[in-house]
């Protein structure tokens, strides 16, 4: 049966810099000898871990999943996985866009934790207003990906969210 390529991506709050890809392809193809990953950013460049000398990241065929420590902030990425033959030609590939939001989601959760410790925080007029803006930016990024695979709009929203969370003393 021919290979039907597919994969998923995930990110954890505890290690937001790491994205984990899992190969969920079905079928097989004996000509496939290697696999590689491209992480395309909204600015048109490829994201790679420090020390990586190519635009892509090798993903060993024996590994079902790969963890890539590559993010320094929330990012919208168009991820392409290519399954290659022994002569380095692409046999098949799959591209999916993702919004990785763990940095801002964790910050957002932390705001609620702060409220639990000090309920008076919400008394300020801008607390909920800015918290809601942060939520809208995160959701907008997810929706831009979900509905249109639009990493440009998603990254713009994530950049606005990141500005809020990294300048929290101004907003909260």
């Amino acid at each position: 049966m021919a290979l039907t390529p597919n994969f998923t991506a995930s990110q954890s709050s505890g290690t937001p810099s790491v994205i984990t890809l899992t190969d969920t392809s079905t079928g097989s193809d004996v000509t496939i000898a290697s696999r590689r990953v491209y992480l395309l950013q909204s600015n048109g460049t490829f994201l790679v871990p420090a020390g990586n000398t190519t635009d892509y990241i090798e993903w060993d065929l024996v590994d079902t999943s790969i963890s890539i420590d590559v993010l320094s902030q929330d990012s919208a990425l168009s991820i392409t996985v290519q399954w290659m033959s022994g002569i380095e030609t692409v046999v098949t590939s799959k591209t999916i866009s993702f919004a990785f939001t763990a940095y801002n989601q964790t910050f957002y959760y932390g705001l609620t934790e702060s409220q639990v410790a000090n309920a008076n925080l919400t008394a300020s007029s801008w607390w909920y207003q800015n918290k809601l803006i942060l939520k809208v930016e995160i959701d907008s990024a997810i929706q831009a990906i979900t509905f249109a695979s639009d990493i440009y709009s998603a990254q713009a929203a994530l950049n606005r969210a990141t500005y809020i969370s990294t300048n929290s003393s101004i907003f909260f």
């Binding site: 709050s13 505890g14 959760y109 609620t112 409220q115 639990v116 410790a117 909920y128 939520k135």
Partner: protein, 175 residues
Amino acid sequence: MLDPNTVVSLAEISQYLWNDAIPKENQFFNGTIDPRKAQQLYIERCALQYGIEQGLSGLPGVSNYVYALCGAKLQLAIEILGTGNGGGGVIPGGGGNFSVFEYSTNAVEGTFTVYFPEAIGKRCVNAFRQGNNIGTILTSGTPTGNQVVWNKESASLTVAVAFYDEEFVRVVVQQ
């Protein structure tokens, strides 16, 4: 402490109850004590859901905080969550994150599990089986007596007492 997933459901129900109540209070009582209540519930419930999803620290505190935010709508929300109705019927909806959907099937005799493929990923807020009462809806473990276990990953409902032939089973789920 209530299960945080239950608190999420209560917050979702309270949110729409508040959202409905605030315009009425504005119209009939010339204002409301807290016009931001529905938005607050939405904001904090989203945080709680992320905390549950990621297993973050401080979850009991956040869960209790959201529970308390439900305020005056809490009792009605508990009633709706427990019975599927209260203060008016819950009408299966067609969109949005807070819609309630109803699915049904007929079980195979002697089996303990039925599946509702359209309900994958959704929370079960109520269940019914023709041949037996349904008690607590668990989300893990093994049911005993009239308990059932809802597994949202596989959208399966498992009972302790085997189904009879073609027994009618219905679930009400939320996003």
